[in-house]
């Protein structure tokens, strides 16, 4: 599985009770009520543990984390050393 598929299955398993329903790679986790604030903490903990990447407090912004696509790009960017968006804008 690639990163995007892994993140997608994490979201489906943990937040959608196994039912992917209408989840697309671009679905907004928050606007579409898929994940709440506790869920974002779980997601971040998963990224840190599973991909061994550090997620700073400043990086907790929708641009990095609010869809399967964005999370995958965020993780891949971290692994390849590309700077990620943070709250400095």
């Amino acid at each position: 599985m690639n990163v995007k598929d892994e993140i997608r299955s994490f979201v489906v398993e943990n937040f959608l009770f196994g039912d992917a329903g209408e989840l697309t790679d671009d679905s907004s986790f928050i606007r579409e009520g898929i994940v709440d604030s506790t869920g974002i903490l779980q997601l971040v903990a998963y990224l840190q543990e599973h991909y061994q990447v550090a997620v700073t407090d400043e990086e907790l912004i929708p641009e990095n984390l609010d869809s399967v696509q964005r999370v995958a790009a965020f993780v891949e960017g971290k692994r390849s050393g590309v700077p990620c968006a943070d709250s400095e804008g």
Partner: protein, 514 residues
């Protein structure tokens, strides 16, 4: 003359400072003139649709400019605003619509399922306004687009005149026990509470409030009304889960006030750049907390992390009180850290025994509140109303006492008391001890049925990281609590179920225990 209607706050601020920014949301900045005009046009549309004083209009919208325009528009028309959680499940929504018999419903895309399932809509509903949809069609018809509705002539101010005693809003409680109840609030209830709050927080037109709490929740509603009343600005951010985006916007907008429930602050302390933004929040005048007991440990950490000029207001209230009942003056917080403070202007809170007699300082009883903010009753539920309202006022269901300085303390909720092997135990005390270990993000202590003890204490705890073992936590309790108050079991979980307001949903936590 003093304003007596909730929508008069908007009208008065729009007259005094029409070009001032009232709302900021997702890059949109809306002036008082624009907001008031949208609300008046919506009111005009409602009257065209035959809405009468007292008719219920359900608002199924998330926080945004259209929510505010809908809320004030409904009130201008003399109707009753009934905001519901946009994520209300089909079954509950069907039941609520059935008991409300609304004349109309304002929905967004998220409420689209409602439009597809017309069987949910009771026959009382004469129209739906779908805010993200353009629905061309000939009359008579049911569904209207938002832009279309706002093409109506503005309703002249004062045209939808109802008395200050008339119902303004029905707000559903999160229903920690049993079904959610519809709290009926009159214009007088909301106006008086709004005034008390603006007074003790010393709000002015220079205040800019960051709102992350939903407007359908009474505290969110109160943030909207108090800032509109003083001609301030409300910054709406629906992305609290991404805490860095909220903190950043607070710095960018020069926010002066932030408000949350206990879990809001637990999250900010655990996972946000709040501490590193300490020097970049020069305007942040105060933070407020209500919505339940916040552990002492979180208050202490918050006082350390907030900028030195930021005051922390610990407050207490209930939906039934139109929001607020008491607060602690920030200057006295360090010495009254466990207190909910004293009653706000115009409100009385007494400690009564089961016979309704007032208890002396230090004695524990039920907190009973009276004042112009106390609700009219529960919608369609005279029995439930009679259980909480009587000649003494509103029985909060909270147990507590008053100290010699007149400061009130809540020790727990009547309906959370657990009977464990002959002892009556208040889970709040145990939760407080567990949180003081400093290793948990949040915790709830519940009573599971037990054939021997009646109830067995079980704690569901969310670790901050580093995974404390349940044995460590239990031994921490052993050192601080009598044996009968030590949980039989501590289960470490990833998250606790919550209401959209952020309050812990104890019923769902109990269901988690199986």
């Amino acid at each position: 003359m003093e304003l007596q209607m909730v929508h008069s706050f908007l009208e008065s601020s729009a007259a005094a400072r029409p070009d001032k920014v009232a709302l900021v949301h997702d890059g949109e900045r809306v002036s008082y003139r624009q907001l008031n005009r949208s609300a008046s046009r919506l009111a005009g549309f409602l009257l065209q649709r035959g809405v009468l004083p007292g008719d219920r209009i359900v608002i199924l919208l998330s926080n945004g400019v259209k929510y505010a325009a809908s809320y004030y528009g409904v009130l201008k028309a003399g109707a009753v605003a009934v905001p519901l959680n946009v994520e209300t499940g089909q079954e509950t929504l069907g039941r609520l619509l059935d008991e409300l018999q609304p004349a109309g419903i304002i929905v967004e895309q998220g409420g689209g399922h409602l439009l597809q399932q017309f069987h949910l809509v009771p026959p009382s509903v004469r129209f739906l306004v779908a805010i993200d949809t353009s629905v061309p069609g000939d009359e008579p018809r049911l569904v209207w687009g938002w832009d279309e509705a706002l093409m109506a002539e503005e309703l002249p101010e004062g045209a939808g005149k109802v008395s200050p005693e008339a119902l303004a809003s029905i707000i559903y409680t999160s229903g920690s026990t049993g079904q959610p109840k519809g709290v009926m609030l009159s214009h007088r209830n909301i106006v008086s509470n709004t005034r008390s709050i603006t007074q003790y927080l010393r709000l002015t037109e220079n205040d800019i409030q960051m709102v992350v709490l939903p407007f359908f929740y009474v505290m969110g509603k109160s943030l909207l009304n108090t800032h509109i009343a003083v001609g301030g600005t409300v910054v709406i951010n629906n992305n609290f889960a991404y805490t860095a985006s909220v903190i950043r916007q607070m710095a960018e907008e020069g926010v002066t006030g932030f408000s949350g429930v206990p879990s809001t602050y637990a999250y900010l302390l655990h996972r946000s750049p709040l501490a590193s933004f300490r020097d970049r929040l020069p305007s942040l005048r105060y933070c407020t907390q209500a919505g339940g007991h916040m552990p002492r440990e979180i208050k202490e950490r918050l006082l350390q992390v907030l900028p030195p000029h930021t005051k922390l207001f610990i407050m207490y209230g209930a939906t039934e009180a139109a929001a607020r009942l008491t607060y602690v003056e920030p200057e006295r917080l360090p010495e009254k850290l466990g207190s909910i403070g004293r009653a706000i202007p115009g409100v009385t809170v007494r400690v009564l025994d089961a016979q309704g007699e007032e208890l002396p300082d230090g004695a524990c009883g039920e907190l009973v509140a009276s004042g112009p903010n106390i609700m009219v009753g529960y919608w369609n539920d005279p029995e439930a109303t009679a259980r909480v309202l009587d000649g003494n006022g509103y029985h909060t269901g909270d147990l507590g006492y008053r100290d010699a300085d007149g400061y009130l303390y809540v020790t727990g909720r009547k309906d959370h008391l657990l009977k464990v092997g002959g002892h009556r135990i208040d889970p709040q005390e145990i939760e407080e001890v567990l949180m003081s270990s400093g290793t948990l993000l949040e915790v709830v202590v519940l009573g599971l049925d037990d054939p021997l003890l009646g109830k067995k204490l079980v704690a569901l705890a969310v670790p901050l990281g580093g995974n404390p073992s349940d044995r460590t936590l239990l031994s921490f309790c052993h050192a601080r609590l009598p044996r009968h108050k030590i949980p039989g079991e501590i289960r470490l979980v990833a998250a606790l179920p919550k209401y959209p307001s952020g309050k812990i949903d104890r019923a769902s936590c109990l269901a988690l225990c199986g």
